[in-house]
Amino acid sequence: MKQLFPIRHVMGYVFSLILSVVALAVIVWDMSFTTAITILLICAAIQAAVQLFMFMHIDEDKSNKASNYTNIAYALFVGLVTIFGTLFTMIWGYL
C-alpha cells in the first residue's frame, strides 16, 4: 500500500497550493514593487522545482540523466534569452 500511495504527487499538490496562496498574498497585501516581484520570482523558481521533482520525477530514471539535464539546460537557455532578450529589445535598448 505504501508504495502505491502517490506521496510525491500529494506533496507537490500541497506545495502548489501554498505557493499559490503566497503569490496571491502579494496582491492582497500592499507592498513595494521590488518586494512583490522578488517574492513572485522566488515562488516561480520553487514552483518549477516542484514541477520537475514532485510531478515529473526527473531524478527517477538514472539512465536518462544526460538527456533530461540537457533538455533543462536548453529550456533555461531559451527562457533566459526570451526574458532578457525582450527586456533588451523592448526597454533597455529602446531609444
Binding site: 538527456s67 537557455f77 532578450g85 529589445t89 535598448g93 529602446y94
Partner: protein, 647 residues
C-alpha cells in the same frame, strides 16, 4: 448577431465558394454512403493510431491546404498583374494575403513535414510505432480541427486581415472589430497544441525507441534533423501559445496587454510573435535539410559527407535560431546596440548553414549521380536556396534593412528560402518515400515535367519581385498606378505564377496517373537506398519490422546489402501493438466546436464544450487499454504474402 454578420456576404466569388463547399461536402457524404465506405473510413482512418496512416492523413491535408494557399496566391497575383486592377478590393486583398501566409506556413509546410516525419521516423530507427501512438492521433486531429476552423473563416464570420503576423495595434479589437482575428488566435492555438504534442512525442520516440545498436551518431540524418526540430518546437511553441492567449484576452475579455493605452505595449506582440516566429522558420527548414541529406547521399551512391559537422551545425542553428528574432523589426526604433547585436547573430547563422551546403556539394563530388525526380528537386534546391540565403544576409544588415524592410524584396527573399527550402523538400520527400508506403513509384516522366515547370516558373515568379522591391514596391500593397512603372515586372511574375500552378497540377495528375498505371515495385528498395526504412517490405506491414534490426553501423542497411553485415538476427516473436481508438477524433471534433463558439463569444455552448473536453481527458486517464498482440502465425502469414511466396 444577424445572419449577414455571420455569413460573409456581398462577394460573388464568396458565394461561389460557399456553393462549391456545400456541393463537395454533399458529394463526399453521398459517395461514402453509396459505396458503403463509412465503416472503412472509421475503422481504418478516423480511429487509427498507426503512424503511417496518420502520416498519410497529414500529407493529404497538407496537399489540400497547398491548393487553398495556392488559390490565394493566384488571386493576389491576378490582382497585381497590372496597374489599377479591380479584381480584389483592399479589404479582400488584406484577407487573402493573411490567410495565404498562415495557411502556407502553419497548415501546409508544418503538417507536410510532420506527415513525412510520421511516416519515416519510426521506420528509420527500426521502431514499431511512435512512443505515444494515441497522443499522435490526438496531435493530428487537433491540427486538423484548427486548420478547418481557420479555413471556414472566409465564408463564416470573415477572415483575419491583419497579416500573418497580426501586428498590434492593427489586430486589436479597436482596429479589427470583426471576428476575423479571433479565428487567428483560437484556430492557431488549437493547431499549436497539436504541434507541441508532436514535438514531445517524437523527441521521446527518437531518444527511447531506436533499434538496438543505433547509437545517436548512427542515426540517419533525417532522424537527427527531426530530433533537433522537435527540440525547437518544444521550446518555441509555448511562446506562441502564451502570445495567442494574451491576444485572446485582449480581444475577447478586454485585457490590455498589447493596447496602446492603459500600460499595454503594442510592440510586445511583435516581439513575442518573432521569438516564436524565427525558430518556426527553422522548424520548417531543418527537416527539409534532413530530407535532402538522405536523397543526395542515396542518389550520389556515397555516404553523406561530414556527418558530424552536419549534426554540429544543426545544433548550432537550433541555438542561434533563438537569438535573432529582432531582425524582423529593425525599423521599430530601438538603438544601434540592439540592431547591431541582432545583425551579428543573424549573419552568424549563415555559417552553419553554409557548412551544410558545402557538405552536400562534397557529397555530390565524384558521386555517381542519378537524376531521379527527388534528386532533381534536391539539386535545384542548392542554388535557389543560396540566393534566398544571400539576400537574407543582405536583409540582416540593420542599416540596409531600412531600405528593404517590408518591400517586395523581402517577399522575394522569404519565398526564395521557403519554397526551395520547404516545398521542394516535401515534394522530393514525397516522391522518395512514396514507394515505401504504396508499393509503387510515382511516374518519373510526369514527375520530371512537373519539376521543370515548377523550378523554372518559380524563378519567373519571384525573381522580378527582388527588383520591384528595390524600385520601391512595398509588400501587402493591393494596387499601384501605371506611373510607378511596376507594371511589366508584375505581369511577368503573374505569368510565372500561372506556370507554377500548371506545374502543381501536373504533380497532382502524376499522383493520380501513377495510382492507375505505374508498374508495381517488387523489391521494397527501389532506389537502392541506405537507411533502415528500406529494409522492410513496401507497403509496410502494420508492425513495420517482423524482427527488430540489430544496427552495427551508420547506414546499416547499406552494409547489410553490400557486405552481408548481419541485420535481422532474432527470431520472429509475438508483437505488441496499440489498439485503434475513436477518442482522438471525437476530441478533435469537440475542440472544433469549442473553438468556434469561443471565436463568436457564444459563452454557454463554449463552456459546455469546454467541460466536454475536460470530461474526455478524465475518461482517458481512467481507461485501461493494454493493446493487442499479433501472433507469430499471423506475422508469418503476412510476411509470406508480402514476399509474394505462394504458401
Amino acid at each position: 448577431m444577424k445572419w449577414d454578420e455571420f455569413f460573409v456576404t456581398g462577394e460573388p466569388m464568396i458565394y461561389g465558394a460557399m456553393a462549391s463547399i456545400v456541393l463537395v461536402s454533399l458529394a463526399i457524404l453521398v459517395g461514402l454512403t453509396y459505396f458503403k465506405k463509412w465503416g472503412y473510413l472509421w475503422r481504418e482512418w478516423l480511429t487509427t493510431v498507426d503512424h503511417k496512416k496518420i502520416g498519410i492523413m497529414y500529407i493529404l491535408s497538407a496537399l489540400v491546404m497547398l491548393f487553398r494557399g495556392g488559390v490565394d496566391a493566384l488571386m493576389m497575383r491576378t490582382q497585381l498583374a497590372g496597374p489599377d486592377m479591380k479584381f480584389l478590393d483592399a479589404q479582400h486583398y488584406n484577407e487573402v494575403f493573411t490567410t495565404h501566409g498562415i495557411i502556407m506556413i502553419l497548415f501546409m509546410a508544418m503538417p507536410f513535414i510532420i506527415g513525412l516525419m510520421n511516416v519515416v521516423i519510426p521506420l528509420q530507427i527500426g521502431a514499431r510505432d511512435v512512443a505515444f501512438p494515441r497522443l499522435n492521433a490526438v496531435s493530428f486531429w487537433l491540427f486538423f480541427s484548427g486548420a478547418m476552423l481557420f479555413n471556414i473563416s472566409f465564408v463564416i464570420g470573415g477572415s483575419p486581415d491583419a497579416g500573418w503576423t497580426a501586428y498590434f495595434p492593427l489586430a486589436s479589437l479597436e482596429l479589427s472589430p470583426t471576428v476575423g482575428n479571433n479565428f487567428y488566435s483560437i484556430a492557431l492555438q488549437i493547431a499549436g497544441i497539436g504541434t507541441l504534442m508532436t514535438g514531445v512525442n517524437f523527441i521521446v520516440t527518437i531518444l527511447k525507441m531506436r533499434a538496438p545498436g543505433m547509437k545517436l551518431m548512427r542515426m540517419p540524418m533525417f532522424t537527427w534533423s527531426v530530433l533537433i526540430t522537435c527540440v525547437i518546437i518544444v521550446f518555441a511553441f509555448p511562446v506562441l501559445t502564451v502570445a495567442l492567449a494574451l491576444m485572446m484576452f485582449d480581444r475577447m475579455f478586454g485585457a490590455q496587454f498589447f493596447t496602446m493605452a492603459n500600460g499595454g505595449m503594442d510592440m510586445l506582440w511583435a516581439n513575442l510573435f518573432w521569438v516564436w516566429g524565427h525558430p518556426e522558420v527553422y522548424i520548417v527548414v531543418l527537416p527539409a535539410f534532413g530530407i535532402y541529406s538522405e536523397i543526395i547521399s542515396t542518389f550520389s551512391r556515397k555516404n553523406l559527407y561530414g556527418y558530424k559537422s552536419m549534426v554540429i551545425s544543426m545544433v548550432a542553428i537550433s541555438l542561434l535560431s533563438f537569438l535573432v528574432w529582432a531582425h524582423h523589426f529593425y525599423t521599430m526604433g530601438h538603438g544601434a546596440m540592439v540592431n547591431g547585436f541582432f545583425s551579428v547573430t543573424t549573419m552568424a547563422i549563415a555559417i552553419p548553414t553554409g557548412v551544410k551546403i558545402f557538405n552536400w556539394l562534397f557529397t555530390l563530388h565524384k558521386g555517381r549521380i542519378q537524376f531521379t525526380t527527388p534528386m532533381l528537386y534536391s539539386l535545384a534546391f542548392i542554388p535557389i536556396f543560396t540566393i534566398g540565403g544571400v539576400t537574407g544576409v543582405m536583409l540582416a544588415m540593420a542599416s540596409a534593412d531600412y531600405q528593404y524592410h517590408n518591400t517586395m524584396f523581402l517577399v522575394a527573399h522569404f519565398h526564395y528560402v521557403l519554397i526551395p527550402g520547404t516545398v521542394f523538400a516535401v515534394i522530393a520527400g514525397m516522391y522518395y518515400w512514396f514507394p515505401k508506403l504504396f508499393g509503387f513509384r510515382l511516374n518519373e516522366r510526369l514527375g520530371k515535367l512537373a519539376f521543370w515547370l515548377i523550378a523554372i516558373c518559380f524563378n519567373v515568379t519571384f525573381l522580378p519581385l527582388f527588383f520591384l522591391g528595390l524600385k520601391g514596391m512595398t509588400r501587402r500593397m493591393y494596387t499601384y498606378s501605371a506611373s510607378t512603372g511596376f507594371g511589366p515586372l508584375n505581369l511577368l511574375a503573374t505569368i510565372g505564377s500561372i506556370g507554377l500552378a500548371i506545374g502543381f497540377a501536373v504533380l497532382v495528375y502524376s499522383i493520380y496517373w501513377s495510382f492507375r498505371y505505374e508498374p508495381r515495385d517488387t523489391t521494397s528498395d527501389p532506389w537502392d537506398a541506405r537507411t533502415l526504412e528500406w529494409a522492410t517490405h513496401s507497403p509496410v506491414p502494420e508492425y513495420n519490422f517482423a524482427v527488430t534490426p540489430n544496427v552495427k553501423s551508420l547506414d546499416a542497411f547499406w552494409f547489410w546489402k553490400k557486405d552481408k553485415q548481419p541485420l535481422f538476427e532474432d527470431k520472429i516473436e509475438e508483437i505488441h501493438m496499440p489498439n485503434n481508438n475513436g477518442q482522438p477524433f471525437v476530441l478533435g471534433v469537440i475542440f472544433f466546436f469549442f473553438g468556434f463558439f469561443m471565436i463568436f463569444s457564444w459563452w454557454t455552448p463554449a463552456i459546455i464544450s469546454g467541460i466536454a473536453i475536460v470530461v474526455m481527458l478524465a475518461v482517458r486517464s481512467f481507461e485501461r487499454d493494454h493493446g493487442r498482440h499479433i501472433s507469430v502465425k499471423e506475422i508469418n502469414k503476412t510476411e509470406q504474402q508480402l514476399r509474394g511466396d505462394k504458401a
